[in-house]
Amino acid sequence: MKKVVLSVLVATAFLLYSIHQRNEGSGAVVLPPTAQANGSNSMMQQGTTSGNSGQMQQSTGTGHMSGYRDGTYTGSVEDAFYGNVQVQATIQGGKIVQVTFLDHPQDNPTSRAINAQAMPYLQQEAISTQNSQVNIITGATDTSLAFIQSLTTALSHAN
């Protein structure tokens, strides 16, 4: 029980820390062109729905002339490493503006235990540009093979 309380405290601390980092507004923080100003921090956030079926739900939605229909779409629950994963895509103006992971790591005692042990050790920081010299640079040149099925099903309903 002590461990769980500690884990929650550590997780909360990280969440507060990362929100703090985000709000620092220092010039070093690099944000992507499509960055969303959402306060959620997915590593530390637990799923809020208890979906366990592959069923689709459309929460809200309005028609749009081109692209996807505006609204919030929830994908099916897919089996992930420590439990199930479910994503939610938000469409505005026919474009995807946000993809949120709705995790479900509390489904069984094993995933709970792994979560309690592993998650507090994962630290977060806002990325910032470094100016020092390097010998070599690692970066992505190609993409990985797979694609999150849950997102696919979410978007198929937005079409």
Partner: protein, 238 residues
């Protein structure tokens, strides 16, 4: 593999011949495993080459792919929409083989870089650990982390970015994801490459997976510009 190869050997004799041997190795791997060359064995397998005609090298690599699939709970899968594409592992595997080749020729201080997947050995020209930068997934001209590495593999998996659009060239109609890039440090380029691929596919589960594997560390950059790192990643930060 159709991507830039960079090799640096510090000191040692016959470095030029060793580099030629490494290029020969990469060309042979590319000729067999390229998904772009219609004459490659991978392409011929996808065109229906019977299993009994597959080379021993192909069988070896596919066995490694199968093992990686088991180790990643199915997240690493070289069959996508029925087609074989082992490129998420072959690059790292080839780099590790090239590093072994250089070692057998007596070289101790070198790096091998194939399209951003790297294996470093020994030290750089200054006698220090190799300084490896992690590229900003949102801006190719920037580095967001500098690492000091020796005798390690490091690989990054992520999506292309062109202006405001992010797309996955391997998956038609792919859309932006929550993860911008995953960098994995491992004992060699083979482990770094295959687990970076798998961790990218896992999305937000990637850091937890890497944390659970001894000998691996990860730096995962989210689309929100926040990075998540595993517990001992900081030990490698320069």
């Amino acid at each position: 593999m159709g991507m830039p190869v960079s090799i640096c050997i510090v000191g040692g004799r016959s470095a030029e011949r060793a580099i030629e041997a490494v290029y020969d190795l990469f060309e042979a791997v590319d000729a067999r495993f390229s998904t772009y060359k219609p004459t490659s064995e991978v392409s011929r397998i996808n065109d229906g080459l019977p299993k009994r005609e597959w080379s021993d090298e192909m069988r070896t690599v596919l066995a490694l792919c199968e093992r990686t699939k088991r180790e990643t709970n199915g997240y690493f899968d070289v069959y996508y929409q029925g087609k074989l594409d082992p490129s998420g592992l072959v690059k790292g595997w080839a780099i590790r083989r090239a590093a072994q080749l250089l070692e057998t020729r007596g070289h101790r201080n070198f790096y091998l870089d194939v399209g951003g997947d790297i294996e470093v050995h020994g030290h750089n020209v200054d006698g220090e650990p190799w300084r490896v930068g992690i590229r900003n997934p949102f801006n190719r001209d920037e580095i967001i982390k500098v690492l000091a590495l020796s005798d390690k593999g490091i690989a990054t998996s992520g999506a292309y970015i062109r202006g405001d659009h992010i797309y996955n060239p391997l998956v038609p109609g792919a859309v932006p994801r929550s993860i911008a890039s995953v960098t994995v440090i491992g004992p060699d380029a083979y482990d770094a490459d295959r687990f970076a691929t798998a961790a990218y596919v896992m999305g937000m589960k990637g850091p937890g997976f890497v944390e659970s594997r001894p000998g691996l560390e990860a730096y995962v950059v989210g689309q929100d510009g926040m990075a998540t790192m595993t517990s001992n990643f900081k030990d490698y930060v320069a």
